[in-house]
């Protein structure tokens, strides 16, 4: 069976006053039905731009090329009216900022109902009934009362639940969650992640989860893509990635995660590993490995060619000339 969503050769260029910025360069990935794909990387590596570009959500300064096949249809080629039908109905988004992503002048019921009425042509009363069901689905207590409340009466976690309810309103095939937990307290984050897992299991929704938090990915994703400077650095099933990271950047990311247990158990203090250097500016990307300047394994070849993606183990792709777990390279 072909995958639900297949992205290939996706590149995004922004024409700015300071010149051309290549935010995404030759991205490719696929997403199967009900699969959870995690995309990780630090700020500005092109995670959000990748998913926004799929649905034409970028400003007009962006030039997008490549193919985004959704159920056999190239979303980069369809007319705007068709794209609007896909947005929110087939592929829906949850954004990072729950505090400001709801319109302050309407009740949450009106806002969720609007999506239902637009995409499904639901009547006012049917929309309200379904809205209450949705609020229940995302585990908002007393949904029949909350439906008439305004966004400012809800906490951040509640609002993110409302945003998820809105995204799920039309039973989308794909849910794109762009840093859904970043703005929330840790305990609330756990609740939201739990909810998303529940959604995948009960509704079979495929999820693209964008985050810079590897813990979140480990918790939820089936497969992980590590992005660096607009390109894919590594891709592997989640267990494989955490057990046998191959790309030095991935290894660096994993080394930068604090582990509370270690400190408490009195083990010798492990200094958190930082990755030296800085992410190269996207407007002057080198025509060699973008990670070369920060990489302990860099050599002549790294500084003269762009490493292609290759499969080092089953389903495990790495864009590096010297892949391998630390100490084995």
């Amino acid at each position: 069976m072909p995958p639900l969503l297949e992205v290939s050769e996706l590149s995004v260029r922004f024409d700015t006053d300071e010149g051309r910025v290549y935010a995404v360069d030759g991205m490719e990935f696929s997403l199967g039905e009900g699969e959870v794909l995690g995309i990780v990387g630090e700020s500005g590596c092109g995670k959000s731009v990748t998913v926004m570009s799929m649905l034409g959500l970028l400003p007009p300064t962006a030039t997008v090329s490549g193919r985004v096949l959704f159920q056999g249809e190239d979303l980069l080629q369809v007319r705007p009216a068709r794209l609007r039908r896909v947005r929110g109905k087939e592929i829906s988004f949850v954004f990072q900022e729950p505090m400001t992503s709801l319109n302050p002048v309407f009740t949450v019921g009106v806002q969720i109902g609007e999506v239902l009425r637009k995409h499904l042509g639901a009547s006012r009363s049917a929309a309200r009934k379904r809205t209450i069901d949705l609020l229940e689905l995302v585990r908002i207590p007393a949904p029949s009362r909350r439906v008439d409340e305004y966004p400012h009466q809800l906490s951040g976690g509640m609002r993110q639940r409302v945003m998820i309810a809105m995204a799920l309103a039309c039973d989308p095939k794909v849910l794109v969650a762009d840093e859904p937990t970043t703005a929330l307290d840790v305990t609330i984050q756990a609740g939201i992640l739990d909810l998303m897992r529940d959604v995948r299991e009960r509704l079979g929704t495929a999820i693209v989860l964008i985050t810079h938090n590897l813990g979140v990915v480990a918790d939820l994703a089936d497969r992980v893509i590590v992005m660096y400077a607009g390109r894919k650095a590594e891709e592997a099933p989640v267990r494989e990635l955490f057990a046998r990271p191959q790309h030095p950047y991935t290894i660096g990311l994993l080394g930068a995660i604090p582990r509370p247990g270690e400190v408490l158990q009195g083990e010798r203090r492990r200094r958190l590993q930082e990755i030296p250097g800085r992410v190269p500016s996207l407007s002057e990307l080198p025509d060699h490995c973008a990670f070369a300047d920060r990489c302990p394994r860099a050599d002549e070849r790294t500084r003269s060619e762009i490493p292609p993606l290759r499969e080092v183990r089953a389903d495990h792709l790495v864009a590096c000339f010297h892949p391998g777990e630390d100490g084995t390279s």
Binding site: L55, L57, P60, R84, R85, V86, R87, G88, K89, S92, F93, F95, E97, T100, S101, L102, N103, P104, V105, F106, T107, E114, V115, K118, H119, D148, E149, Y150, Q153, M163, M166, A167
Partner: protein, 291 residues
Amino acid sequence: MSYVEAAALSPASRRRRLLRRRFLRRPMAVAGLAVVLAFVATAIFAPLIAPYSPSATDFYAVLGHPSGKHLLGTDELGRDIFSRIVYGSRASMLAGFLATVLAMTIAVPIGLAAGYYRGWIDPVISRITDVLLAFPFLILAVGLAAILGPSLLNATLALGIGAVPGLIRIARGEALSLREEDYVRAAIANGGSDLTILGRHILPNMLSTLLVQATVTIPVAIVGEAVLSFLGLGVQPPTPSWGVMLEGAQSYLTQAPRLAVYPGLAIVLAALAFNLLGDGLRDILDPKTQR
């Protein structure tokens, strides 16, 4: 009402209660509202309030002093000044409200389009409004009224059109900032069309700004109507209007200054009341207001 009872109210009515409480805490705004309502009622019920017809002459009391018979005295033809001011409020209120509604109807869609779509349409609209704003409002209105010909309707049209450029600029600015809101992005990602975004997300969020702007535009139009009528470009005598009365009073300024003072006071009072109301609304609708 106790806190518990208040909490049981629906959110919308709780917000209304909060706004009402904030409003009532501002005596100037309350006074402004009272005077505005009084003027509106006067305009609507003029025949019931005025003791005489505005054109009834009493030749036994020409340029008469205020008395029990004529509350504010009489003019050069023996017409009752109080009755004429009462009837004159009709022209003022009509011009004030209609001109503002007209200006909003024209300006808001244009400003929304400029602020939301940006592209080439924004600089085109913005530069045209800049040019129009370079003309003083009254010059613009006088010019338009002169072209259209003298009548209350044409004066109102002229005042309404004259107020358009300023309102375009305000609507554009609001649209420009609201389009960057996360909920607008979210609505686009949910498949909202431009019309939905503008009508459901941007316009409702700028209503409070527009409401305040309306209460500021109305008094300008009221004064404008008086000016145009004074210049003979608005209401035509013998129909009463505060501007017409001022014009007639000119010739008798030394003998009977009250002929100019009373309609002048009416204009000042009406304009002041609308401005106080507008200030009050601006304060209570601003979320940064503390009280």
